[in-house]
C-alpha cells in the first residue's frame, strides 16, 4: 500500500559526507603512530610513575628556612610584572588605536599591525633570552621581555575591540564638528574602556605568572632561585617556592578582580569588602 509518488522522494534526510570520517580515522592512526615513535608504552609510563613518586615524596615537607632568598625573588618578580604591565599598557594603547582599520587609514594601520604581530610571534622566554643577551642578566631584561608580550596581547585585543564599536555613536560626535582627538575621547573610548580594563588586568595576571619564569633564563625574579634549587636537588625548597608562587598568583587574581569591579561595575571599596572580592554583576538596564 505504498504511495507510488513517494518512490521518487529522497530517503536520506541529510547529505552524507565522507570527509569527517576519513579525518577521524586519520587522527586515530596518527596518535598510534606518534606513541610508537616516541616510545610511549605501558612499561615507560610505569618507570615514569616510580620516578615521580620518589620526586614528590622528596618535595614534602616544604622547607622555608631560606625565606629571605624566597622573599627577595618574589619581590623582584612582582616588580617586573607591575613595571612591564604599566609600560606595556602605555605603549599598547596608541599602537592598538593606530592599528584599528575602522578609524585609521591603511598606511597607518599596517606598521602598527606589524608591530603587534612581531610582539606576539615569540614566547616570552625566547624574547627574554634575546634581551638577556642584549642588555645583560637581571630584571631589566625581564621587564623588557614582558613589556613586549604585553604590547602584543593588549594591542591586538584593543584593536579588535575598537574595530567592533558602533560607528553610529562615532558619527554623531563627528557631526558636532568635534576634532579627531575629542571624537576619540567621547565617541570611541567610552565604548571600549571596560573591555580595555579587562584586558589590562588579565595581562597583569599573565605577567605575574610569566615573571616567575623569565628568571630561568637569567632575566630576574624568583625563576632564577627556582631553577638553582632544581639544579641542586633542593626539592623541599622547590616546594616552598612553588607554594609562594601559587600564593602570589592568587593574591594577584583577587586584586585584578577588585580593579575590574571598581572600573567596570562602579563598585566602591566598601562594596568589594562586603561581597568578599567577587565581581558584581553587570548592571541591569532599566526598562521603562
Amino acid at each position: 500500500m505504498t504511495d507510488p509518488s513517494a518512490a521518487s522522494l529522497p530517503t536520506e534526510p541529510f547529505p552524507r559526507s565522507v570527509w569527517p570520517r576519513v579525518a577521524a580515522i586519520a587522527l586515530v592512526g596518527y596518535v598510534i603512530y606518534a606513541c610508537a615513535q616516541l616510545d610511549v608504552s605501558p612499561a615507560r609510563v610505569e618507570t615514569g610513575l616510580e620516578n615521580a613518586w620518589r620526586f614528590f615524596s622528596r618535595l614534602f615537607p616544604p622547607n622555608f628556612a631560606r625565606w629571605e632568598l624566597l622573599a627577595k625573588g618574589l619581590k623582584e618578580s612582582l616588580e617586573i610584572a607591575v613595571l612591564a604591565s604599566a609600560l606595556g599598557i602605555v605603549l599598547a594603547l596608541p599602537i592598538g588605536l593606530v592599528a584599528a582599520r575602522n578609524l585609521m587609514p591603511a598606511w597607518a594601520t599596517w606598521p602598527a599591525r606589524l608591530i603587534i604581530v612581531a610582539a606576539r610571534s615569540f614566547h616570552p622566554v625566547i624574547v627574554a633570552i634575546v634581551f638577556v643577551k642584549a642588555v645583560g642578566f637581571g630584571a631589566l631584561a625581564g621587564i623588557l621581555a614582558l613589556t613586549v608580550a604585553s604590547i602584543g596581547f593588549i594591542g591586538k585585543l584593543f584593536t579588535e575591540a575598537i574595530e567592533e564599536i558602533s560607528l553610529k555613536q562615532v558619527e554623531a560626535i563627528r557631526a558636532t564638528g568635534a576634532p579627531f582627538a575629542s571624537v576619540l575621547a567621547f565617541g570611541v573610548l567610552p565604548q571600549v574602556f571596560s573591555r580595555f580594563i579587562g584586558f589590562a588586568t588579565y595581562q597583569l595576571d599573565s605577567n605575574l605568572r610569566n615573571s616567575t619564569m623569565v628568571g630561568i633564563v637569567g632575566a630576574g625574579g624568583i625563576g632564577g632561585t627556582l631553577f638553582a634549587a632544581f639544579q641542586r636537588f633542593d626539592y623541599d625548597f622547590v616546594c616552598a617556592i612553588l607554594i609562594a608562587i601559587i600564593t602570589l598568583i592568587m593574591i594577584g587574581e583577587v586584586l585584578a578582580t577588585g580593579v575590574r569591579a571598581i572600573f567596570i561595575g562602579n563598585a566602591t571599596l566598601a562594596d568589594l569588602l562586603r561581597r568578599g572580592g567577587t565581581a558584581p554583576r553587570e548592571r541591569h538596564l532599566e526598562d521603562d
Binding site: S166, S182, P190, Q191, L285
Partner: protein, 249 residues
Amino acid sequence: MLSLKHLSKSYVTGKPVLTDVNVDVAAQGITAIIGASGTGKSTLIRCVNRLVDPTSGEILFDGADLAKLSGRPLRHARRHIGMVFQEYNLVERLTVMENLLSGRLGYVSPWRAWRRKFPPDDIRRAYELLDVVGLSGYAHRRADALSGGQRQRVGIARAVMQEPKLLLADEPTSSLDPKTSVEIMELLAEVARSRNIPVLINMHDVELAKRFADRVIGMASGRIVFDGPPSELTDAMLTTIYGGEGWLQ
C-alpha cells in the same frame, strides 16, 4: 540659509541615489522630506553636513560651499549644523550630561574635553536644556538606561547644545511608538520655533509631516517630485511620491 544646487550622489558609479537635487531651505520653519524607503532621503540629509560626500553639486550654507570643504573648515561648518538621528546615536556608556556636553566638542579643545573640563556656560545651558526636554534629574544616568523616547530627547538636546543655525533630523521618530513620535515632533518643533532654528527633517510618516511641517518635499527615485505646503499634498501627489495607491485606505 541652505541651498543645494544640482546635488547628485552615487555610491556605485552609474547607479545614482540622488539626481540633480535643488532645494533652498528658508531661515526658519520646518521642512519635511518625505518619500518611500531607499529614495535617497537619508543620503540627501547626510550630504548637508558631509557625513556622506556628494558626487557633484554645491551645498551653499552660511556663505560657503560645504561640498568643497575638508579638515578644519569642514569641522567648523559642522558646528553650526545640529543633527538628530533615527537610532538616537547617543554614546551609550556615557551619562546624559556627557552626551549633552558632547554637542560642545567643536568649541572645546581636546585637552579640555579629555579632562571633561567644559566652560561653566555650557554646563549651565546643558542643565537648562535638560529641563526644556523634560529630563531634569537624569543628568547622571547612563544613556543606555533610558527609554527610546528619553534617548531621543537627549539627542535633540545634544543637537541644540551646538546652538546650531540649522537642525537636521534623519527619521527622528521611526524607532518610536506613535504617541512618543508625536511628543518628540512637538518638542522638536517647539525647540526650533523658540530658538528660530530652521529644521530639515526626513520622515516617511505622511500624517506627521502634514501635521508639523511648513513645507513638504516629496522624493522618488532620488529626485524631487513635489515641493510645496502640506495643504497641496493630494492623494494623487502621494501616489506619485510613494507609487501604488492600495496603501491610501
